[in-house]
Symmetry: C2
Subunit: 205 residues, 2 copies
Amino acid sequence: MAVAKDAYHHGDLRAALLKAALETIEEIGPQGLTIREVARRAGVSHAAPYRHFTDKDELILAVVERGFELLEAKMQAAREAAGSDELARFAASGEAYLDFALGYPTYYQIMFSGDLLNSKGKQALRHTSAATFKDMQADLVTAQRLGVVREGDPTLQAVAIISTVHGFVSLANDNRIGELAADGSDLQTMKNFVMSSIFEGLGVK
Amino acid sequence: MAVAKDAYHHGDLRAALLKAALETIEEIGPQGLTIREVARRAGVSHAAPYRHFTDKDELILAVVERGFELLEAKMQAAREAAGSDELARFAASGEAYLDFALGYPTYYQIMFSGDLLNSKGKQALRHTSAATFKDMQADLVTAQRLGVVREGDPTLQAVAIISTVHGFVSLANDNRIGELAADGSDLQTMKNFVMSSIFEGLGVK
DNA sequence: TGATATTGTTTACATTGGAAACATACCAGT
DNA sequence: ACTGGTATGTTTCCAATGTAAACAATATCA
């Protein structure tokens, strides 16, 4: 089972391709993500990836999937680390979402951009991201029961929160915020202000 | 000056190409936007566009520029139509922003997506969108002076508003909201709720 | 009128996504 | 251990794309 130096078979090409794909986007942007470039980085022929992904879209979707797994793991971990107080758990998971988006901008971008995919792929994407949305909705129901959020339609509340969070991290990751706010304010300050604002607007205690 | 039927020269190819570019994105998505497709639609050879745009990026940027002109015109018109009350003018221009984003999703997408461009083009994009941000900041300074917004750093407030608005319209235009919220709530309701929330959070009276 | 700058067209080339045919390595059952 | 089948890679091929170069038609203006 030891890795043969010049093995014809790669070992775990699929994983290598996913890694290469992410690195490619990080280094030369989404435009630079080509099947052939990814194959080059993995040291295989340009057609090899087609044994693991039927399509360029499927390669991207696989990376997206890993991204959502990572995100959900981080949120879950934060929730558990926050102890037993339900509000603290809710806040922690939200914080984890933000940190993920700001800490793994490449993942976040492909997870939510959609521009890389054609319509077929977009359907799958929507499906995947729906789960995160549902989780947040459920959290809000709990929060309302505990009286830490103003009563109201949890769907609307979830949309409000997700809109704000998503907008902030999208702009931040696109460098549309850091440069514009040329005054002192750093990203951390902004993040806190933006989140406090929407939470206050929703009557979060 | 009359348009010759079989004129060798096109008349106004540049404008025709911009129009074709927008239509292409609308019909077959950003992925379908190719120089050659645009040329085809304009009825010219595939190399003709290069007489008007040095680059694919420059073609896209030209469309983006028209988008920002349109947006600013709409906001300005709304402001003027709102009369002399400064708060009403502020609200109206914000409303116009929302309506533009939701009403011209294609424009909005390319104006803020950036995924279509490589790094060179992105710089230009950032520059362009900075103006809109500055306008909003100025509006907030005025609003504070009039006492209709809580005192505070207008930059932070602008970031909060723009984050929320941008996030909402991005998700909406990507169909990430309509489908998820399978219950009754329609887009209009959501829009109102989201905007009220962030405004309340910022202490807008 | 004729020289020159504009705006098109044609031709050419490297890169890409993807299909097809072929090759090599792995695994099961005998 | 042999043998056939199935994964997994490689080569070769094709159409579409971005873009450069050389060429052609037209517009403009001295």
